[in-house]
């Protein structure tokens, strides 16, 4: 198989699995063995989607959720990368922060939502902060791991040429840990989506999560399904976007 054929096969297989899933769902639903009110066939969701786009501003809801994800993601990822790098290159900082980081890492951050609401009120900021909190630690720990995993030989090379700490950071620690940073970011993106939808369930105020929850409350099941599918698509596209950025930022990796 040539590389080109392989690439083609990969694309086909990637598209095949969701289509297959939808197809099975469609067949089971149409066979009449299950209650169509709760398990509507995917094909029957088209009309619902169209009305939702036209009359209920579906894209507005999607955008609102997306905005929350991206804002919280940025607020958690940027400090996470910075603190992670610092923990990686400086043992005193690592020794000082490690106990707190590992302890808080284990708390499901959504449990802190009431606290955050008390501290920050019920506006958008509280949602962003809870997302930022949820992803900060995974990004920081993954980044730190990336720095620590670097072969000390690279540090020696920099020192041999008279490089100072800043050179070491700029030319070794930072570029060397980017693959690990992206591993952390990919996990974080998943967390961010979960947490945003979760907060939209708990405190519905627009967004796809609210849409799912409110549709369920009034037993508008088809709308609920549209919300679910939109959420899944959003997660998929976000990860795809991150992969694309990684390809640009880390062109030196063997297999991407």
């Amino acid at each position: 198989m040539t590389a080109k054929q392989r690439r083609f096969a990969e694309i086909v297989l990637t598209i095949a699995s969701p289509i297959l899933l939808l197809l099975i769902w469609e067949l089971i639903s149409r066979s009449g063995r299950i209650d169509q009110r709760f398990w509507p066939a995917p094909s029957s969701l088209w009309d619902t989607t169209r009305t939702m786009v036209q009359d209920e501003d579906l894209f507005g809801e999607i955008w609102l959720t997306l905005e929350r994800i991206l804002a919280g993601f940025a607020m958690g990822a940027v400090p996470g990368i910075i603190i992670g790098l610092l923990m990686g290159i400086s043992w005193p900082i690592r020794a000082f922060l490690m106990p707190i980081a590992t302890a808080i890492y284990a708390i499901p951050k959504i449990a802190l939502l009431p606290l955050v609401l008390i501290a920050l009120g019920t506006g958008e900021m509280a949602r962003w902060v809870i997302v930022a909190l949820s992803i900060f630690f995974v990004v920081a720990l993954s980044t730190m791991g990336g720095v620590l995993a670097l072969d000390p030989i690279f540090t020696d090379v920099a020192r041999n040429f008279g490089g100072n700490r800043w050179t070491l950071f700029r030319t070794v620690a930072l570029p060397g840990s980017t693959p690990a940073i992206f591993t952390g970011l990919r996990l974080a993106l998943g967390f961010a989506l979960i947490v945003v939808v979760g907060t939209e369930f708990v405190r519905p105020n627009g967004g796809v999560g609210s849409l799912i929850w409110e549709s369920y409350s009034i037993l508008s099941i088809k709308k609920m399904y549209v919300g679910l599918i939109v959420t899944a698509l959003m997660g998929w596209l976000l990860v795809l976007g991150l992969d694309l950025i990684e390809r640009l930022v880390v062109p030196w990796r063997r297999a991407l």
Binding site: I153, F161, G176
Partner: protein, 282 residues
């Protein structure tokens, strides 16, 4: 030899000057590592003069302290005893560049960025860097790969990048720690020839650590044989083989065989000792 030397006041006097003072003078050098299992003496009591423009090879059983010695000369490791003096009065060490043992080429930089690395750290401007590195990459046969990343290269090509990176800063002293250790024999011969040619053209001082007696004799003017751990100098063997050296004729030279025997005689017992100490079967 008697030469006229200008003293600080500008007058000229005749006095005895030792021909070419050594580039590096090592006296009583030792290094002890503190480990969890107690102190480990890596290197002890090294006395060694490294002459300018000399090609020196160091051979010894693995774990005997060759890397530690080289790192101390490079200034990457602090001696715990003895001292290293240098002929160049300005710095406390000659300007050196090391080709490290193992994979030291930065995977995140292209061939060109790797080769320019030392120059960039020293603040050389872009045009200057490009000028130097272009001709070096030409020399090591990698100019067509200057935009490639290390993972796209063969092992031998990556070692060439490491050598180009070290040479780019025009060091007085080139240190190479088993630079061709992981390469196949043919590639090794080619790279040895390249290093010999570059050395011939630039007349740098070179120290190469190698586990190959054959390689030591091919390259060096002098071979230092080290004892098993903890490493000390056991033997110093002069290599009066004619230069320029050629891989084929070199090995048919009876002198080559004689020197090989001499070094192996010296090394053999050390290798056996090192293996016994580490518990490997003989």
């Amino acid at each position: 030899m008697t030469v006229a030397v200008a003293n600080e006041s500008g007058t000229v006097d005749d006095r005895e000057v030792v021909t070419d003072p050594p580039l590096v003078r090592i006296r009583g050098l030792g290094r002890v590592f503190e480990t969890a299992a107690g102190p480990v003496t890596a290197v002890r009591a090294i006395d060694l003069d490294i002459r300018r423009r000399e090609f020196l090879a160091i051979v010894g059983p693995s774990g005997c302290g060759k890397t530690t010695l080289l790192r101390m000369i490079a200034g990457l490791e602090t001696p715990t005893s003895g001292r290293i003096e240098t002929g160049s009065a300005a710095a406390d060490r000659p300007v050196n560049a090391m080709v490290f043992q193992g994979h030291s080429v930065f995977p995140w930089m292209t061939v060109r960025q790797n080769a320019e690395y030392g120059l960039a750290i020293r603040g050389a401007g872009k045009p200057e860097r490009a000028g130097i590195v272009d001709s070096l990459l030409e020399t090591v046969g990698l100019i067509e790969f200057s935009r490639a990343y290390p993972h796209q290269l063969s092992e031998g090509m990556r070692q060439r990048v490491a050598i180009a990176r070290a040479l780019a800063v025009d060091p007085d002293l080139l240190l190479m720690d088993e630079p061709f250790g992981s390469l196949d024999e043919q590639t090794r011969f080619i790279l040895q020839d390249e290093v010999l040619r570059i050395w011939g053209e630039t007349q740098k001082t070179v120290i190469v650590v190698t586990h190959s007696i054959d390689e030591a004799l091919t390259l060096a003017d002098r071979v230092i044989v080290m004892t098993a751990h903890p490493g000390a100098i056991k033997d110093v063997v002069d290599v009066p083989l004619a230069r320029p050296r050629d891989q084929a004729t070199l090995r048919s030279d009876p002198e080559f065989g004689r020197l090989f025997g001499r070094i192996w005689d010296s090394l053999r017992s050390e290798v056996l000792e090192a293996r016994a100490a580490s518990g490997s079967p003989r």
